[in-house]
């Protein structure tokens, strides 16, 4: 069992003439929280989409637990145990919260729930337990589309946990969330990592959040890997400060 869950080697991706990612290499350690930062338009989301399978990469390789995944389709990758949340939160808007949770069970080959499994019993209990974990238990029977944006974000996070993924990729989890709720969210992310053993990879804009959360951070700029290392080291790296504050 290798230490790195996701291994990205020399990945490049361009759209037309625009080089979104150039020769990116990085890895996500098993059990750790890895952060990706960078200014707007630096190619974070492109890299993210390359990993989870939304578009083909031009060259390079992406492996998950040692298996090449850069040619797989989105749902195949998800069934390997790699899950992502969306920046623009996506939930099943016409179903209620419990239903949203229940259908988010793992669909991996090793999961015990079949296509025609009953909706009662263990699945439902776990769904309600996780809703309690994110603080949405009292809203469990509401249509999810009627929830506020922040609540939908929490629901999407809970749905991801319901799936019991090996690694969870979060695309700006704190964007658009009321600042007073951010600490609670950070706390839940960390608990998910520690108590449920889910490896996290987080794209974040909010420097305070990511410095608090991640143990290893990659900084992208203009589609290239600028620097990486521990939060403290990166915080004092002149190149990172420069990328965020000045230049362009």
């Amino acid at each position: 069992m290798s230490e790195n869950l996701i291994e990205i080697k020399n990945v490049s991706k361009s759209f037309g003439g625009v080089k979104a990612n150039v020769d990116i290499s990085m890895s996500v350690k098993r059990g750790a929280i890895t952060g990706i930062i960078g200014p707007n338009g630096c190619g974070k989301s492109t890299l993210f989409n390359s990993i989870v399978g939304y578009h083909p990469i031009d060259n390079g390789s992406i492996t998950f637990e040692g298996n090449e995944i850069s040619h797989l389709m989105v749902d195949e990758i998800a069934r390997l145990g790699m899950l992502r949340t969306f920046q623009q939160t996506r939930i099943y808007g016409e179903m209620n919260c419990v239903d949203n949770m229940q259908i988010s069970v793992s669909h991996r080959p090793d999961s015990k729930d079949s296509m025609f499994a009953s909706r009662k019993g263990e699945i439902r209990e776990r769904a309600e337990h996780l809703l309690e974990f994110v603080g949405l238990y009292s809203k469990r029977n509401l249509i999810s589309g009627d929830l506020s944006f922040g609540q939908q974000k929490l629901l999407e996070f809970a749905m991801a946990l319901m799936n019991e993924p090996k690694v969870l990729l979060l695309d700006e989890p704190t964007a658009g969330i009321n600042p007073t709720l951010i600490n609670g969210l950070i706390d839940r992310l960390r608990r998910a990592n520690e108590e449920l053993g889910i490896t996290l990879c987080v794209i974040e804009h909010n420097m305070r959040v990511i410095m608090n959360l991640a143990s290893h951070i990659y900084c992208l700029s203009n589609g290239k890997m600028l620097a990486n290392g521990e939060p403290e080291k990166l915080q004092n790296d002149p190149r990172v400060i420069d990328a965020y504050l000045g230049g362009h």
Binding site: G53, Y54, H55, P56, M73, V74
Partner: protein
């Protein structure tokens, strides 16, 4: 059959290829109309083929009054334009903001309605309008009715007119602006509702012209519309929106394929051939999309 075509009488190929071009030019007109409304207002019109047949019957009525079908074209254009405008106001306007299936189904309902009305008025017989133009002999074997050449020229003429109209006129510019970003166009003071109505009416007129040509060089029948619709969908899906050369090229390809299928496999396969092309195009688009880790939407 293969022997006849490629060994004994290779000259037949010329005949078949010419037929493909003649009929393909008509496909191109209606496909261009579909690409127009699809691109501008995102309406996929399943009554497209019925508009074509309707144009044919309009010409049929006019020529019954003693006017030559070619001179019926202006009348048909005006008639179909009004019809398109009314259809937009009554139906399309109300489904345009809904999900795609609603507009598709609404136009399918319209298609059934038109079929039945035409059936009621004109009866289920297959009709062809005689243009009294005679036949042109190319070489010793290839015979071409002159009307088909004239029809090709008419189709080319109207295609040019529409393209120029879209490029040069105020309305054409407004249509293109709306196609790019309807909300921005609205902010800039373009009455998008009027633009949509005009676009849809223009499409109906284009179909009407195609219908007149079909009624002269081929045949019309109240229930032929759905196959025309599927043909135009195959063409536009294969060529992509806003790709005029692609639409024209694909129309000829479809025309040739149908003609060869008719000659090689028998006339009863001709309709099947056009549907096979549609299915093949959809499959091919899916494989293309899959290579880009996408789906066709």
């Amino acid at each position: 059959m293969f022997e006849l075509l490629f060994v004994t009488a290779p000259i037949m190929n010329v005949q078949v290829l010419l037929e493909g071009v003649f009929i393909g030019s008509v496909f191109a007109l209606s496909a261009y109309g579909l690409a127009l409304i699809w691109g501008v207002m995102n309406v996929k019109n399943l009554a497209q083929g019925d508009f074509v047949i309707m144009g044919g019957y309009a010409a049929f009525s006019v020529s019954n009054a003693g006017v030559h079908p070619i001179f019926a074209i202006p009348v048909v254009i005006a008639f179909m334009f009004c019809f398109g405008w009314i259809t937009y106001k009554l139906i399309i306007k109300r489904v345009i903001d809904n999900d795609m299936f609603v507009s598709l189904l609404a136009t399918f309902g319209l298609s059934l309605f038109l079929q039945q009305v035409m059936n009621l008025i004109f009866g289920p017989e297959v009709q062809t309008l005689d243009s009294h133009f005679g036949i042109l002999l190319l070489g010793d074997f290839v015979t071409v009715p002159k009307i088909k050449i004239i029809s090709l020229l008419i189709a080319a003429f109207f295609a040019t007119v529409v393209v120029l109209f879209m490029k040069k006129s105020r309305m054409g510019q407004a249509i293109r602006a709306t196609a790019q970003d309807a909300r921005a166009a609205r902010v800039l003071g373009i009455n998008t509702d009027r633009v949509y109505a005009f676009t849809f009416a223009l499409n109906a007129s284009i179909c009407g012209v195609a219908g007149v040509l079909v009624s002269m060089i081929w045949s019309i029948q109240p229930f032929y519309g759905i196959i025309f619709s599927l043909r135009t969908f195959a063409i536009v899906t294969a060529a992509g929106l806003g790709n005029l050369p692609g639409v024209i090229g694909m129309s000829f390809v479809l025309g040739w394929f149908e003609q060869y299928a008719g000659v090689l496999a028998g006339a009863e396969w001709q309709i099947a051939a056009s549907v096979f092309v549609l299915i093949f195009v959809l499959l091919w688009r899916q494989l293309q999309a899959r290579r880009h880790r996408q789906v066709v939407r």
